[in-house]
């Protein structure tokens, strides 16, 4: 596991976007070889998306040969609802970049057969050659995607009922009206994300400090699903200073000592210079 500690949220966005850019360039995608990227929604990745858009606009990154798979989507709200993850992805990333619509994959929370929709999604990921890099954020209760506490750590894409805590937290996006918040979602499983070649978890802000501690300094537990990535062979946690508040000094010191190596990770490969 790597833990990259940066000063501010903005630094986290910057570092992450550069890392994604470098990964895509190293992969050298083309018409017969697509780079497959797993994507989250929520406030944490927003800054990263903004940077990626900047890279596209300045001409240093193209998404022409990138396929994306999103983590999750609500059930029972229309696709074009402003709070749907389709709308989120369209407004915050897709409409600004040169990605080709058929290479974008999101779960359809209104599919007539939800189980089949989930099976199909797993099949499509496999067909695309698996996910090269999965980006994710986490909830204060340690959930990754909608894998709420208690989710199996080998779970696959499926329908999930949201935890009360998540519903309450999300009410702010639905005029503060808890009855408007969808109670079900489709989500990739912990196992689905574990299959990715590389996983990157972004954690920013003091309110996520305890979650970061639980994620990396406690044991693996299905009550804190993101902890499963302790078992993944290539996971990077990227956080800001605020999110380190609950970590041991020893942990912080150790990983900060590696900063010069971390900075090298986001340099553009020779071929791109």
């Amino acid at each position: 596991m790597r833990l990259v500690i940066l000063d501010t949220t903005n630094d986290v966005s910057d570092w992450t976007a550069k890392y994604v850019r470098r990964k895509i360039h190293e992969f050298n995608p083309g018409p017969d070889k697509y780079f497959t990227l797993g994507l989250p929604t929520g406030s944490t990745p927003l800054g990263t998306y903004k940077k990626l858009i900047e890279f596209y606009k300045e001409g240093s990154l193209s998404f022409k040969y990138v396929k994306t798979f999103n983590m999750d989507e609500y059930c029972d709200i229309p696709r074009d609802h402003p709070e749907s993850y389709h709308s989120f992805m369209w407004n915050n990333l897709f409409k600004h970049i040169d990605i080709v619509p058929e290479n974008v994959h999101l779960l359809d929370g209104n599919a007539p057969d939800l189980e089949k929709e989930c099976e199909e999604y797993e099949r499509k990921i496999k067909e695309a050659g698996g996910i090269e890099l999965f980006l994710g954020g986490i909830g204060p209760d340690g959930h990754i995607a909608f894998n709420e506490p208690g989710s199996s750590l080998v779970s696959r894409t499926r329908v999930k009922t949201l935890a009360q805590e998540t519903i309450i937290a999300n009410a702010r996006f639905f005029d503060g009206d808890i009855s408007q918040v969808p109670t079900r979602a489709l989500t990739v499983g912990v196992g689905t994300v574990m299959d990715a070649k590389e996983v990157m978890i972004l954690i920013t802000g003091a309110h996520k400090a305890y979650a970061l501690h639980k994620a990396i300094e406690s044991g693996v537990s299905h009550m804190f699903t993101v902890s499963a990535f302790q078992m993944h062979k290539s996971t990077i946690f990227v956080c800001d200073e605020d999110a380190t508040m609950e970590l041991k000094v020893k942990t912080v010191k150790y990983f900060k000592g590696l900063n010069s190596i971390h900075m090298k990770l986001v340099e553009e490969p020779e071929s791109q210079k």
Binding site: P31, K64, R79, D80, H86, S87, W90, F94, K95, V100, P101, E102, V104, L106
Partner: protein, 444 residues
Amino acid sequence: MLEKTVSQVGTVTQYNYKTYVRLEKGFYQENYIISCSIMPSKVKDGCIYQYKNCTILWNHELILEDLWVRDGKILNPEKLFFEEQAYADVQIDCKGCIIAPGYIDVQINGAFGVDFSETDDVISGIQKVAKGLLEHGVTSFCPTIITSPAEVYQRVLPQVKKCNGSKDGAGVLGLHLEGPFINTSKKGAHNPDNIQSFPNGYKDVIGFYGNMDNVAMVTLAPELDNSEDVITELCKRGIKVSLGHTTADLITGEKAINQGACMITHLFNAMMSFHHRDPHLIGALTSNQISPDRTLYYGLIADGIHTHPSALRIAQRVHPKGLVLITDAISAMGLPTGEHHLGNQRIEIKGKRATIAGTETLCGSIAKLDYCVRNLLKNTGCGEVLALETASLHPAEVLGVTDKKGTLSYGSDADFILLDKSLNVMATYIAGEKVWDSGLISGL
């Protein structure tokens, strides 16, 4: 001069046009390049256009956003992306222009030497004006017939069909009949011999006008006896009623509005002045007798001559949502400076004024609607959004055509204009087709 190069990048065909601006003595300066990328879209029906690098008027805001068009309609790009998995066939760089809905003029008596009420060949006259309005950003209008003898209505009304615009000219949303049911003492330039009343109510109206299928709007004076019946019957048939050329007091005005009248014709002109103890019709702008879910609209001639800037500000500040810019233009609009024979009058055009030749008597407005928008903005400081909406959204609301005209909402007709930061019209589009181009923005 135009130079075209074509390059192929993967499946994308890139067209580059280099244009040159002619300088003195035969030198050319490279002006700039427009590029459009032609990507093979998955969708076979209808070319998809994406207007990029622009600020669009959307939901009462100017936002940095692309405008998408297909089959003459505004397209929802998010739906296109997720449902059809399709993308733009042609991308057009708007070079930072503002895109607004095409302007709508609901009161225009003529232009370019044509007077709709006087001409023998009203169809050719309307076509001539429709074509000339394109460069002023007008994509639809209501040709207006002022108080005339019955035979004029019965000849003209069946001929002038409502139609969408095209390369040949702005669309016609129906006629505006200004009179003859008005008050003689506020006749303005209308011929008093032709002014009528309706002692038998709506029966007289239909008897006078004849076939009203192509009529969008009627201006009448509400103080005439039986106006309740007339207003009710017109509204029932979807014809909008505007109050004007009137001596009506406030109560009469409010009554007419509650019966269905939705507009006041050229506010401040041809009506009683505002008095603080007897506000008359102008007082209706702040009436508390009109249901809050209805908007009272009012036409305003913002030509800088027919309405004083102070009066523009008063109206705009007390009731911005109801403001509808109109030109009320006469046949002299669009004619060059100098003397012109129009009908049986000699008219002199000096700058922004048209006067009866040899006198200082104003004979009507000759302002263009795009100028009125800029003038309103300059004189009231109302902001670009409102200025643009007073010539697009608001007139469309008056006529009840907002599902097709007056907005850039998805599914609306792609009637729009490109403007520079000072709201000068750079190009005009109708149903997605470019119908006028200033040539100042290359590559449109």
